[in-house]
């Protein structure tokens, strides 16, 4: 009964979304506040209805109702509660429902929080959001309905892939989807503004909070995924340039570019056309990601069971929505004002350079992901595009961006002074040089790229701090005055500093980990030992243990350094009884920022176990950095100036 209510609610949500579009559009055309208000009510109703459908599916997973096809295919009674709940979004159909939940949720948020937007713009934004909701809800209802019943339900479900039964992964998709779909609001605002024909500083200010929220959520989502890959896949990798990862990375890059160009549009009225273009592109890349991972076009070797018609439908949705958005852009963009002028050395120029490099980086990721398909379609030749390609293209672009980064915030709008920027950054330059030299002197083996990377990380961190010091006139005015200025800084400024600082922290971690990681592997008998870096490991014992839905070998490994005990970890090798897959549960010993990463391998002849060990220096920073960045986004989001409608109130006052 509950599943049927859910299915009904989903259909109701579709109807409400259609009503949302119709009411909002008619409300806009007739300039009727009542009709537009009814459209907003429909948006809220659609969200609640999808919420009911989502709760119904979650209920079916929690009580293991195998008469629901989706539950039977993706759950199992022995699975712990958390993973039964997470199973709701663990499959294609369920994740599509999560997508719709986020989409209607953002629609309701625009309707609810957008009270201070100009009426016309608000009605059209709600209408566009409703149109997106309609399309994706129709797809979910008719092509991938998760609430369909089975005629003859099985006694037991087929369970969720054991690699996915992990706390980080349970919460990873909600963040990721909220980030992906958050871009839809930006898309809708862009479409609405193009129709209204007014793109100005105020519009830019309304776009920013949504872009910030979506970008921050996406940052956290991607980081969770990377962290999961790091500790679950068992060889310490955290980014593989896998098409699926690239699919989530492209909207992130575009959103980052958008956040920067929106500043220029807001403060200087320039780049309006480009900002709108990015606003449209961000959600287009989100949809591209949704298509790529569901269509199966990228999984050529491992036939990953996806119905091709579903892929085609998603491709049509992508082509039509993005196509309409960009057609509207092509039609309306030439009428946009060019905005204020600026000199070659200015904040505007720096932000344009930022956008050029981020756009090129996105192009690199896009090409790297799709080029094998293009080549194959053109002349049937199969090629591979792997990490070496990205190291040669993406990395230099990013390095150029990061080298320029600290200068940007210190440049004045309109006309900056290069010499004064250098004067303000010389300490950061010194810090970078010292960091590089220290790395050269202390860390072995000596590696040029590693040293340069450490210098770059130091440059970014010191540059971000130098910017704060400059704003507060630290060391040039009395400490009390600096403190007053520090506490008076707007949240937006803090957000930017945190985001740039986090990037520097990430660079340091990534450089250290990739350059100086140490690897060792040996088949060890119980009591046997192995050296990794400065540490010595002893395999004390291996005992069988039984988990809720798996059997495992649990190794106990003691780590010592110069004869002194450092820590003891218990990596496991698990065999999941349903499905028969084995996974390794790595043991990580945290030493400051660095990790000793231990994997228990298979049992070998003569009772030995293959033990792999990695010394991953400063690996924690790889994940801490992006978290700081995401936090920066949230801090910036809390800035009073970004609250919706503030701009409009100011306009009416003026």
């Amino acid at each position: 009964m509950i599943a049927e209510s859910g299915a009904f609610a989903l259909l109701l949500a579709l109807a409400l979304s259609i009503a949302q579009v119709a009411l909002s559009v008619v409300g806009r055309v007739r300039r009727s506040a009542t009709l537009a208000g009814a459209g907003e009510g429909a948006a809220l109703g659609a969200f609640l209805a999808v919420g009911v459908a989502f709760a119904a599916l979650m209920h079916a997973f929690v009580v293991s109702d195998f008469s629901v096809a989706n539950v039977a295919a993706n759950s199992h009674t022995e699975k712990p509660l958390l993973y039964r709940v997470a199973g709701t979004w663990g499959s294609h159909e369920g994740s599509m429902l999560l997508w719709c939940l986020a989409l209607t949720g953002f629609g309701a948020a625009v309707a609810g929080l957008g009270r201070d937007l100009p009426r016309g713009l608000r009605a059209l934004t709600v209408a566009t959001q409703g149109l997106l909701g309609t399309v994706f809800l129709a797809y979910t209802v008719f092509a991938s309905n998760p609430l369909i019943r089975l005629a003859s339900p099985p006694v037991e479900g087929r369970s969720l892939n054991p690699l996915l039964q992990d706390p980080a992964l349970a919460v990873h998709p909600p963040f990721l989807y909220a980030g992906y779909v958050g871009m839809s609001v930006v898309f809708s605002l862009a479409v609405a503004a193009l129709i209204e024909g007014r793109i100005d500083a105020a519009w830019s200010r309304w776009v920013r909070p949504w872009a910030l929220a979506a970008w921050s959520l996406l940052t956290v989502g991607i980081t969770l995924g990377a962290f999961w890959a790091y500790y679950e896949l068992g060889w310490g990798g955290w980014w593989f340039w896998d098409p699926v990862e690239n699919a989530s990375f492209m909207p992130w890059l575009i959103a980052a570019a958008l956040l920067h160009s929106a500043v220029v549009t807001e403060k200087r009225g320039a780049l309006a056309g480009w900002t709108v273009f990015l606003a449209l592109a961000a959600f287009t890349f989100s949809m591209l990601g949704a298509f790529l991972v569901r269509s199966g076009v990228l999984t050529s070797v491992h036939a990953f069971a996806v119905d091709p018609t579903r892929g085609v439908l998603l491709l049509i949705i992508l082509a039509v929505t993005a196509g309409l958005g960009f057609a509207l852009f092509a039609w309306r963009a030439p009428t946009l004002a060019q905005g204020g002028m600026f000199a070659p050395v200015s904040r505007e120029s720096a932000l344009v350079l930022n956008n050029i490099l981020l756009a090129a980086a996105t192009a690199t990721v896009l090409l790297g992901t799709l080029y094998p398909l293009i080549r194959e379609a053109m002349n049937g030749e199969a090629i591979s595009v792997g990490p070496p390609y990205f190291n040669l293209t993406f990395t230099p672009l990013m390095v150029a961006l990061l080298v320029l980064l600290p200068a940007g915030p210190l440049l004045a709008w309109k006309r900056g002074d290069a010499r004064s920027v250098v004067q303000r950054l010389w300490i950061a330059l010194l810090v970078a040089a010292v960091a590089g030299l220290l790395a050269l002197a202390i860390v072995s083996p000596k590696k040029a790229f590693g040293v340069l990377g450490v210098a770059l990380g130091g440059w970014l961190i010191a540059g971000a701090l130098a910017e704060i010091a400059e704003r507060t006139r630290a060391f040039r005015v009395p400490a009390a005055e600096t403190w007053r200025r520090l506490t008076g800084l707007p949240r937006g400024a803090w957000g930017m500093t945190l985001a740039h600082l986090g990037l520097g922290v990430f660079v340091l971690g990534a450089v250290f980990e990739t350059t100086w990681k140490v690897e060792a592997a040996e088949a060890l008998p119980t009591g046997g030992g192995l050296d990794v870096g400065a540490y010595h490991l002893t395999l004390d014992s291996v005992v069988p243990v039984a988990g809720p839905n798996y059997d495992a070998d649990r190794g106990t490994i003691t780590v010592t350094r110069a004869g002194e005990r450092v820590c003891q970890v218990q990596p496991e090798r698990r065999l999941y009884t349903t499905g028969g897959q084995s996974t390794s549960e790595v043991g990580i010993c945290y030493r400051g920022l660095s990790h000793i990463y231990l994997v228990l391998g298979e049992r070998r002849d003569g009772g030995t176990y293959l033990v792999r060990a990695y010394w991953n220096p400063w690996a924690s920073l790889i994940f801490v950095g992006p978290v700081i960045m995401g936090l920066g986004g949230l801090v910036s989001l809390s800035d009073r100036r970004l609250r919706l409608g503030v701009g409009r109130r100011r306009e009416t006052a003026a």
């Binding site: 499959s91 294609h92 369920g94 994740s95 892939n161 996915l164 998709p173 995924g225 890959a229 896949l233 068992g234 060889w235 310490g236 593989f240 340039w241 896998d242 098409p243 699926v244 991972v293 569901r294 999984t299 050529s300 070797v301 491992h302 990953f304 002028m341 000199a343 120029s349 344009v352 350079l353 050029i356 490099l357 756009a359 090129a360 980086a361 192009a363 090409l367 080029y371 293009i374 080549r375 002349n379 030749e381 199969a382 090629i383 591979s384 595009v385 792997g386 990490p387 070496p388 390609y389 040669l392 293209t393 672009l397 690897e519 060792a520 592997a521 040996e522 084995s582 390794s584 293959l610």
Partner: protein, 150 residues
């Protein structure tokens, strides 16, 4: 869904860094290090997106053995890669070749930078006109000023 595909992509990676298996290693550490460098550029053909350095698949094991043997007899990196391409096609290399067919792949990122640079340059150049008034505008401003101050 994304993670599922990732799993599919990384199928069989549960006990990875297969290449570090002591049973497979070459006795000479320098040669072993060179072999590992090559592994990172060679695709495990039956896997979705893994190098043979990472994959546990049987084919990856075989390829590692081939590469190690060739490293052992002193063949150069280029020779070994040419041998692999000969046998499996360009698909086997994770780094696409700098060939005509891959021109767009390698060129477009830098074209985007170039194009963006040109557009920025053009934007910076055409700022002059707006700062000056033409004759009729100047005359109008003059008239307006005169109107204001009778």
């Amino acid at each position: 869904m994304r993670l599922r595909a990732l799993i599919a992509a990384l199928a069989g990676v549960a006990c990875l860094a297969a290449a570090s298996d002591p049973a497979e290693r070459l006795p000479d550490p320098a040669q072993e290090a060179r072999a590992r460098e090559i592994f990172r550029d060679v695709r495990c053909l039956v896997c979705q997106n893994e190098s043979i350095d990472d994959s546990e698949a049987d084919l990856a094991r075989d390829l590692r053995q081939i590469v190690r043997e060739q490293v052992k007899v002193g063949r150069s990196d280029a020779d070994i890669k040419a041998f692999l391409i000969d046998r499996y096609g360009e698909f086997v290399l994770l780094k696409p070749s700098f060939s005509l067919g891959n021109l767009a792949l390698w060129g477009v990122p830098f074209l985007v930078v170039l194009g963006g640079g040109v557009m920025l340059f053009a934007r910076l150049r055409n700022r002059a006109p707006e700062t000056e008034l033409d004759a009729s505008e100047a005359a109008r401003v003059q008239r307006l000023i005169e109107d204001e101050t009778p």
